[in-house]
Subunit: 418 residues, 2 copies
């Protein structure tokens, strides 16, 4: 089980209308498990072509992973093509019919349309892989003692959870793979090349640990990987390597993952710290328009520490909701250090929280001036020990600037809490 | 010259360490010129595998486009593999040697390293495609009267300019290409299978228009594609097909794109309508935690109509900032029709806007009860003609529920504005 071919099915992929983001996630998981992706093929929604593709791949690979085209509409032909490629008939699974029917009932959207029945058809002998996030179950067919075809639905929010749920356990059950251990240092506030520069020259004596840099926008992940037959030795080498890197990168590291694939969000790290302290948080944001609050509340359990926020988009709202003085706005402009501080102070006072974040800036594409260009963002954190401000200049389009500024504001609070 | 297969070469691509951004650019240019990408294959840096890949592709396609692996180092094996696949020897081109040598001289980096000599070797009979941004020239080999292999270097800053310089003129010189036109109907509020059911049976007399369904989470896009020799005829067929589909899908369609690849966000559609009317908007959101405001403010120019919002996460905030009566919260609970309406009313009054959205629900994973399960979201739109509420039950994890509820709330306003 070493050679893997990935077949992505979809006219829309071939037309360049969407990007196959599943591939990256699959490639990384497979690599972590010691498997090598030897070919990645994108095929059209064409039954005969899919069948040929599956046959070709089975002639070369130990595992053939097929993604996409499991939907209920007539352009979803993957199950038919795979069945043809395997030379097996499709058989309706009564349990799967019931699962789909129950799903429609549960979400109160009425009876199951007849079109969905096809999603209960699988090649004879297939093992079903349940999909908690959609009606399209995946399936696995063992074609030889150490060879299989695994078929997964295309939408990333359905496919990605099925990697951990089905693909990883299957790879692990096959066994016989070399141990690959990994750590992921999540860093923010330093670009990729500056980060690499800090670490450079620290690789001596760690020849068995590979290092990779992965820009995350915002932030950069540094991934350390050790390979070997002995798990304890690999983990020990990694611990030493991680410690050294972390010392060099310093406070830019906001989290260290004990594996290669988890990605704990910055807002979770900040939230855990607030919960531990019994502290509370509020925000008043202008140019980020609700994104800081949205990042915070995307974390389960955030109601333990997050009280609320104001999206103070219009100047009058800044004054009415969090008491930013009109005179201050007139004197310094909405995008200024003073207004950022006033937003944070006002939010802290009005929401009655331990901490508050204020953000104001020019998200663009319009509204920039020579003095206050697009991408300029002032932020502030108000707390029991006073209010501190921070000026940043972000690059990118509007949503990139909003995303980076929001992450930087959360990071400002993280550093303050340390 | 209609069927194109693209072969991308590189171990780094298969490992998921880098993404093949060239593909999207190539796919769009080819589509614009009436060519159809029928397969996209990523191959490892392996001479025999590349040779096989070229042979397989030539058995099916009119144009085989190979990218990457033309560098000077020993892992760059594309020229060897392509030559093998074509059954032609490599021949050194004296002019190319001179070009590379001159490049080293011009950029003052000393004499040309011996390693670079290989970049002057091309399959016998190839036409060279010069590369203004690197030492790796591309090449084109005509393998039959209307069949060719085109090989381009992998780095995007070298490849992308070569599309306009070499690929486009070649495609245009071939001529006689069919026109491909497309429309994209963006719909929300109906699942993929229900949407397909509505449209089913409406394909008569439109055999030249292909239809595809693409879940967007939230929403579903329906893409209509017409192919023909005559642009006006293809566009007319599409217009007729689009009209019929739109009539069937009804108000669920929030936008019709005049091409296949643009994706105007729902918040842009709502924003344009508000701007046209000279109306303003505010939000008060609980379970979506700032995401509704964030979607609205991700649109450039949203400050024209969006005044601001309150993220009323804690109950006390709902009362203090938008006057949701404590008695109402006590009587019906925070997740209720009454509180959704009070949030919208309070926001409209406090922000002084034409319209306001209120959202409250159970985003999960905790906090669900039998009566109010995870995924239950109440929303309301308050406007000059009163306040209307809407109950939804969303599936998925926390962030999916937040995303779907936010989109549904925006859609509620869109329908109200019609």
């Amino acid at each position: 089980m070493n050679r893997v071919e990935i077949l992505a099915v979809g006219n829309e992929l071939l037309a360049g209308d969407i990007t196959d983001t599943n591939f990256l996630a699959l490639a990384r998981v497979l690599k972590d498990k010691g498997a090598v992706v030897t070919r990645h093929v994108t095929l059209p929604d064409d039954r005969a072509v899919i069948a040929d593709g599956v046959r070709d791949a089975l002639a070369r690979a130990d595992l053939v992973l097929v993604t996409g085209g499991l939907g209920p509409t007539e352009d979803d032909l993957t199950r038919f093509g795979v069945a043809d490629g395997l030379g097996r008939p499709l058989v309706r699974d009564a349990g799967a019919v019931e699962t789909i029917r129950a799903r429609f009932r549960r979400y109160g959207v009425g009876d199951m349309p007849v079109a969905n029945l096809v999603q209960a058809d699988f090649p004879e002998g297939a093992r079903l892989l349940d999909n908690p996030n959609g009606t399209a179950a995946g399936f696995l067919v063992e074609t030889a003692p150490r060879q299989a075809v695994v078929v997964l639905p295309g939408p990333p929010r359905e496919l990605l959870p099925m990697i951990d749920r089905h693909l990883l356990p299957y790879l692990e059950a096959r066994g016989g793979l070399p141990v690959i251990a990994a750590r992921r240092l999540r860093a923010i506030g330093l670009g990729e090349s500056l980060l690499a520069e800090r670490i450079a020259g620290w690789d001596e004596g760690l020849a068995d640990v590979a290092i990779g840099y992965y820009p995350q926008d915002p932030g950069v992940d540094v991934k350390l990987t050790a390979t070997g037959a002995d798990e304890a030795a690999a983990e020990a080498a990694l611990d030493a390597a991680t410690r050294r890197r972390r010392d060099r990168i310093g406070e830019h590291v906001y989290f260290v993952e004990a594996n290669g694939h988890d990605r704990t969000p910055l807002a979770s790290v900040v939230g855990a710290e607030l919960r531990d302290r019994g502290d509370t948080l509020a925000v008043a944001e202008s140019c980020t328009g609700g994104l800081v609050a949205s990042m915070i509340t995307a974390v389960a359990g955030s109601s333990d520490y997050f009280r609320g926020g104001v999206v103070a988009y219009a100047n009058a709202v800044k004054t009415a909701f969090v008491d930013v003085p009109e005179a201050l706005l007139a004197a310094h402009g909405a995008v200024s250090e003073e207004v950022a501080a006033a937003l944070a102070d006002g939010a802290r006072r009005h929401f009655g929280t331990t901490w508050a974040i204020g953000v104001t800036g020019v998200a663009g594409p319009g509204g920039g001036t020579e003095e206050k260009p697009v991408g300029l963002v002032w932020m502030a954190v108000a707390g029991p020990d006073g209010t501190r401000t921070h000026r940043t200049q972000h690059a990118g389009d509007r949503t990139t600037i909003q995303r980076r500024a929001s992450a930087t504001a959360l990071d400002l609070l993280r550093r303050r809490l340390r």
